[in-house]
């Protein structure tokens, strides 16, 4: 310890020196990145071979691109005249680009989808960049791009002016207060539907009114401090619930009446067992019959129990009715279901009343929906006709089968994406729920959707939905496809989000609980923001998948850009035999959108990470 003969102290620090030449600059880079080992050298050469071969073969084709021609034949002549062996014939894109983009949308109305597209960017800005100043830049950029696009399709001056004014207003608002853009996001769905499909302006106004009404009702219910108002509210909504319950139970009366008889008539299991010479058919038939019967039995069992229960109740009820009304009880008292209807209504009333008095969030939402839905169903049509006579703000309606190309892909993609996120969250929560039934239902739904190809679901939308909905219901094919696509991606999202939820530590739930937050508050404020953040890559790749899958709608007869439009173009006598150009064009647009989305998700991940860690 005391021996200090080894002690040596540096007095002066050495200065750093540049590395030797072979350790710096281009030489170093090549040495490290291209020829670091024999295998690496071989790989480099192999890569060069591929690259050279690719460029060498493709370059002349790109070099001899022809932009102005009226047919493939003309293209080839021009290329030959220029001394090329082959050349790209982009003239086909120039001639048909509008179909790739809009399908058969009437050209004089192109400004409508273009304006919608521009507004989409403005609406996305707050979602994509939150309250950054970038939002305003994005709006400005979208406005300029929209005006340029309008110029390209030579839209009329009115559309021009309107667009300019709209974007100017939004831009000013966004610059002053980025948060105000959220209003554009909220209004966008209604405006865009009106713009694309046309019709009376009073339609979106009414939808908005309905929403405002619903929100108002929910807010008043949830935020008022008057006990009296709260009780009145609870009473009203409980009465509505009782009414709905009685209608629903009344309907199950209609279902249950001779349920087996109707089933037999529909002969669910015919065709099996008939061919009993065949082992396969017998086994298969037996299995299918068992399945159908099990399902039927489950439904019927419930109905039967309630029926018997109802009958017992009814016995007393009839007595009661006799007591009150004397000889002639009212009509409903005679129905076998009267007991159940009254009991169900009573129970629904009581439960909803209790929950409503305690300001349950679910009840608030229900009340809002009821109010808004009521307005849409009963009041809106009247108002539209009334207003339309005085002030007909109507633009020409465009039917769904004229919509095609990337317009269609975007409509389906954006809507289904927007709809699938909340659905996916609910399914993920259901799958992680403590409640057995919720879990089973969620798992069943998710596994079913993930187990079948999207095509079969799209066919369900076009062929089967008519069987499962009440007779004579018929609604727009695009809407049906959107619903099925949304369900499809919701199932995938649910799995992605479930992963995110599983990654959260239990302490987060416990902290929420210990602060007295309710389940939904904790989910909304604490759990979901974190779970969704963790799952961003998965969510975005599900979205990308969904957007790519919009091309499959061509199989149910919609005009998607890929198969629908390209096939139409290729069938044209002038462009017969062309294939690279349209596919490259369509592929490039898809690539830009999807690649952009994936890059954006990386940006988002980085941004959310640097924020706090």
């Amino acid at each position: 310890m005391t021996d200090t003969s080894h002690l040596w102290v540096r007095e002066e620090m050495l200065r750093p020196e540049p590395p030797p030449l072979r350790e710096a600059g281009l030489v170093k880079w090549v040495r490290e990145n291209l020829v670091s080992s024999p295998v690496n050298t071989l790989l480099t050469v192999a890569g060069l071979l591929v690259a050279v071969w690719g460029i060498w073969t493709a370059f002349p084709w790109w070099w001899h691109s022809v932009w102005n021609a009226s047919s493939l034949g003309e293209c080839r002549e021009i290329v030959a005249a220029a001394g090329g062996e082959s050349g790209a014939c982009w003239a086909v894109i120039k001639a048909r680009w509008h179909q790739f983009l809009f399908g058969f949308y009437p050209p004089e109305h192109y400004w409508r989808p273009i304006l919608t597209g521009g507004l989409l960017f403005a609406a996305l800005a707050p979602v994509l960049f939150w309250n950054d100043r970038k939002s305003a830049h994005m709006v400005g950029f979208a406005g300029i791009a929209t005006l340029a696009a309008l110029y390209a399709v030579s839209a009329n001056s009115l559309a021009f002016a309107a667009t300019a004014v709209i974007f100017a207003v939004i831009w000013v608002a966004a610059s002053l207060r980025p948060a105000s853009l959220i209003w554009v996001t909220g209004l966008f769905p209604f405006i865009s539907i009106w713009l694309i499909w046309g019709g009376s302006f009073w339609n979106p106004v009414n939808q908005l009114l309905a929403i405002a009404l619903g929100a108002l009702v929910a807010r008043v219910y949830y935020n008022n401090t008057s006990k009296w108002l709260n009780d009145a509210f609870a009473l009203v909504i409980a009465l509505a619930a009782a009414y709905v319950a009685s209608v629903v139970i009344g309907y199950s009366d209609a279902i249950s009446t001779d349920f087996f008889g109707k089933l037999r008539e529909a002969s669910f299991w015919q065709g099996f067992g008939q061919q009993s010479d065949n082992v396969f058919s017998m086994v298969f038939g037996a299995l299918a019959s068992v399945l159908v019967m099990a399902l039927t039995a489950a439904i019927w069992l419930l109905l039967a129990i309630t029926y018997v229960f109802s009958a017992v109740l009814n016995y007393n009820l009839a007595d009661l009715a006799g007591l009150i009304w004397g000889e002639t009880p009212p009509e409903w008292a005679g129905s076998a279901w009267a007991g159940m209807i009254s009991l169900g209504a009573l129970l629904a009333f009581a439960l909803v009343f209790v929950a409503a008095r305690n300001r349950s969030v679910v009840i608030g939402i229900l009340a809002g929906l009821l109010a808004g839905g009521g307005w849409l169903l009963y009041q809106a049509p009247k108002m539209v006709t009334y207003m339309a006579t005085d002030l007909p703000l109507t633009i020409a309606p465009v039917s769904s089968n004229m919509i095609g190309g990337f317009l269609l892909a975007l409509i389906i993609g954006v809507t289904a994406i927007a709809a699938s996120l909340p659905l996916g969250i609910m399914l993920a929560l259901g799958r992680r729920s403590d409640m057995w039934l919720m879990k089973v239902l969620s798992v069943g739904f998710i596994e079913f959707i993930r187990g079948v190809p999207l095509i079969t679901l799209l066919f369900t939308a076009s062929l089967l939905l008519q069987y499962f909905l009440p007779p004579q219901t018929n609604f727009d094919l695009i809407l049906r496809v959107i619903i099925l696509a949304a369900l499809f991606s919701a199932a995938y999202l649910a799995e992605v989000i479930r992963g995110g939820l599983a990654a959260l530590p239990r302490g987060q739930y416990e902290a929420g609980d210990s602060l007295g937050l309710t389940y939904w508050q904790a989910q909304r404020l604490i759990i979901m923001p974190q779970a969704l953040k963790i799952s961003i890559p998965g969510i975005v790749s599900t979205f990308i998948g969904l957007f790519k899958d919009t091309t499959l709608v061509s199989f149910v007869g919609l005009l998607d850009p890929l198969r629908g439009v390209t096939t139409t173009v290729r069938a044209d006598i002038n462009w017969k035999g062309i294939y690279w150009e349209p596919y490259i064009f369509v592929g490039a647009i898809f690539f830009i959108i999807c690649f952009g989305m994936s890059r954006y998700s990386m940006y988002l991940e980085r941004k959310l990470k640097t924020d706090h860690r």
Partner: protein, 256 residues
């Protein structure tokens, strides 16, 4: 062990009363006949070997765990299966965890205002003022706009304390608040807790910081194998432990 139990004088109003409380995890009997009464303003330190059920007991008090028999009455509200009672108790009782459990996606300020805004329904402005008040009190007002990940462990734990205080709880539960911290950070958290104690907050604290117990506690509760083995005033507890288990435990914990 019943013989050695000494009934202590309990002054004033009762904050928490636990009677004959039992809890099982499946077949495993974690808590056995727990009896504990805490008066308002009392500061109790709970200690005991690992796995003795300290965390479980303290978590039963705000219903993070459900007890299966016996009664727990917190601030006059019995913890039953009634959700409204549970919510009421939880908003009256603050809890600080070993691993802080701050919300990493929210700033410090947002962490502190979240519950007051959503549970107490206090206007945002006011909630922020309260939050700043308590953040000042735990001596980190300047970190309010940072995220938890940007703070040191000790700072995080102080934020967690402030977050609980923002709900203006009448009782505070601490579950080993310092055991995930480096030695130099332990002191700053303990100082905060001592300050809180001096203001008369009712506190239940699971900790192995015997210095803290001696300085602050009115009573030390020793648990083993799911039972309360001994409780006593700190001075008595450390100088004159009654049961063999306590002696063994103390010799291990103070021995080195």
């Amino acid at each position: 062990m019943t013989t050695a139990q000494k009934q202590l004088q309990i002054p004033g109003e009762i904050a928490i009363e636990i009677r004959k409380m039992n809890k099982w995890y499946g077949q495993f009997h974690v808590l056995r006949d727990i009896d504990l009464t805490v008066a308002r303003g009392e500061r109790i330190v709970i200690c005991g070997p690992s796995g003795s059920g300290k965390s479980t007991m303290i978590r039963c008090i705000n219903r993070l765990e459900e007890h299966q028999s016996g009664d727990i009455i917190v601030d006059g509200t019995e913890l039953t299966n009634d959700l409204k009672n549970i919510d009421k108790v939880r908003s009256e009782v603050g809890m600080v965890f070993q691993h802080f459990n701050l919300f990493p996606h929210l700033t410090i300020l947002e962490n502190c205002t979240l519950a007051p805004i959503w549970v107490r329904k206090i206007p945002k402005k006011q909630a922020e003022e309260t939050a700043m008040h308590f953040l000042t009190k735990v001596k980190i007002p300047d970190q309010a706009l940072k995220y938890p990940g940007q703070l040191s462990g000790g700072q995080q734990q102080r934020v967690a304390i402030a977050r609980s205080l923002c709900m203006r709880p009448r009782i505070m539960l601490f579950d080993e608040p310092t055991s995930a911290l480096d030695p130099e950070m332990i002191k700053e958290v303990l100082d905060t807790m001592i300050e809180l104690a001096e203001e008369g907050m009712t506190m239940l604290c699971v900790t192995h910081e015997m210095g803290f117990a001696q300085a602050v506690a009115n009573r030390v509760v020793f648990m083993d194998q799911g039972q309360i083995v001994e409780q006593n005033a700190p001075k008595e507890f450390f100088s004159n432990p009654q049961s063999e288990r306590t002696k063994l435990f103390l010799s291990q914990i103070l021995g080195h």
